[in-house]
Symmetry: C2
Subunit: 376 residues, 2 copies
Amino acid sequence: MKLTINRSIFLNELSTVQRAISSKTTIPILTGVKLALSNDGLSLTGSNADISIETVLSNTNTKAEMLIERTGAVVLPSRFFGEIIRKLPESVFTLEVLPSNEAIITSGAARFTINGLSADNYPHLPIVDENNQLKISVRVLNKMIAETGFAVSMQESRPILTGVHFVLKHANLLAVATDSHRLSQRNIPMESGAEGFDIVVPGKSLLELSRSFKDEEEEVEISIMENQVLFKTKTMYFYSRLLEGKYPDTDRLIPNNFGTEIQFSVPKLLAAIERASLLSHEGRNNIVKLSIDSNKAIISGNSPEIGNVKEELTYLSLNGEPLEISFNPDYMKDALKAFGGIDVVVKFISPVRPFTLEPVDNSISFIQLITPVRTT
Amino acid sequence: MKLTINRSIFLNELSTVQRAISSKTTIPILTGVKLALSNDGLSLTGSNADISIETVLSNTNTKAEMLIERTGAVVLPSRFFGEIIRKLPESVFTLEVLPSNEAIITSGAARFTINGLSADNYPHLPIVDENNQLKISVRVLNKMIAETGFAVSMQESRPILTGVHFVLKHANLLAVATDSHRLSQRNIPMESGAEGFDIVVPGKSLLELSRSFKDEEEEVEISIMENQVLFKTKTMYFYSRLLEGKYPDTDRLIPNNFGTEIQFSVPKLLAAIERASLLSHEGRNNIVKLSIDSNKAIISGNSPEIGNVKEELTYLSLNGEPLEISFNPDYMKDALKAFGGIDVVVKFISPVRPFTLEPVDNSISFIQLITPVRTT
């Protein structure tokens, strides 16, 4: 293959597929990036055990200044190749691959020769049934991921909990994640039409997916294969493996009778929780206490060897029974960050039962659950 | 003690002294920051085995909004205390220290109580003879440190080489550093008057010193004690221990007869060296080769398992004998970065003798030396 191309456009594509490439893989060829040049354009592929990313740069993209002299394919060492391209002197470079898979990179007076591998040895990506696709806005999908992905488990002891459970049914897309200490669930109405599905996508894959979307992408098509999901935009194919096994039934976890309800502005509550958590992080038990009586809400933390903290919280409204409840402030911080700058209502049953957080105006069907810590 | 003070002004002072505070110290009280409040203002102190920093915030500084209610002193856990102050809700806070050394920090509705230690147990800083001082501009001292500090040894096998050698003699301040593979030497004329000295200051201390100067500081006074040096500005006392032992005689290392001289623009040469070093960093030997003949200079690198690189260099002038010489490109990069955007002349004797780099216009008395790598 032989190609001349704009350096910064190429680097953009490369950094997208590099998200899928790990230097720690046990399959040596996967430390490389695959380049495949056809008369239509250039595709780059990166892959690891969990995700594969393929980008497509069309020869109709004039910013890419592509000059395709000879089609072909090669696998080049990803990190090293990227460092070379980053440091080249001119705004364009030429890549020529010899039949020996040696790649010659020239730009200005600089000339690099690096050893590549045959693209024939690169693993094939799954083949997708393009008939069964769900279309969704990139913005909405990213929001769903941000609202649930943080709540997946980081422990491999129950692998299924390291993923986000997505269910498409009755023109509704549900996303839910829980690490068994807290839960976050979001529902979004969908246009009917696509066939239903019930999948669990690894939280790490979703995080990389979110980071891989280009700003100009508006829509993504989701296709499910046997044990893979494909997220496809105009310029990118993002594959992730699915987690196998049955996701626990989370519906029954969400309570609906409460004794105490209190409304907060999220940024104000978050700042107070962050202050209280400074102390809890220093101490042995990472917990803070919320004490609610008829007209006061106080957050406090105490760690005899370190000190203590106390702050009266500013709330918007307060109803119900007095309550003292202790919890891990980090769960509360994560939950509040997922809401953004809105007002939320926190609803309690008792000091030993999970409490919920929802937007005050819950037209958006978003609920979070946090399990308290028993202190007595 | 009891004090109300502007939060961001206080944090500025605290982050300066925190440069000297390590959480890894074997002396527990040194993980703390000492606060001492007099009617003149507030002083903060941080210290480790190598450096101590004391800042002074005068009560005449109106931006500090200081309200001194009761003088006194305490030692508080540095990192934790700093995190608390950073997260407080209002622009000012109040710190009250009880006789038990408990510190109560209040700001808005937030109230922290943290356990402190008695300031009586904090080590005393050296007492300085203020009669024997060298005054020097902060800008000039910072430049000297940047021009030499990078060349100190990182190996503890010859501790003396981990410092920069400063000699004040005959109205000239010399700074020189070498790790035995490369050397950087800078001379600066001084007004006569101060007593001469000959000291070796740890490179790490100088780096922290450079970072600790505030932008508004113009002049620093250098005082030498038995085994300490004090750098004093209007708002900061920076103490460093000195390295003991005799610094090697570096004068005799600098050659003065050369067979080949070539002039470069530093940014252009640096970019080419950085490209060549990409390859040398991947290979087993971190070396590049410079080949000079009557009208060409080529930089190249070769690593059979990885590939090779070759680039014809743009030079300003070239005189003398053809030459092939190999060297560690990282030493060359460091040297070039210390020159900045100027033109330099590189002078060679032979492939096995150290070569020098100097500004083309060497009115500023700056010379660097790099030892080549024998390849045959």
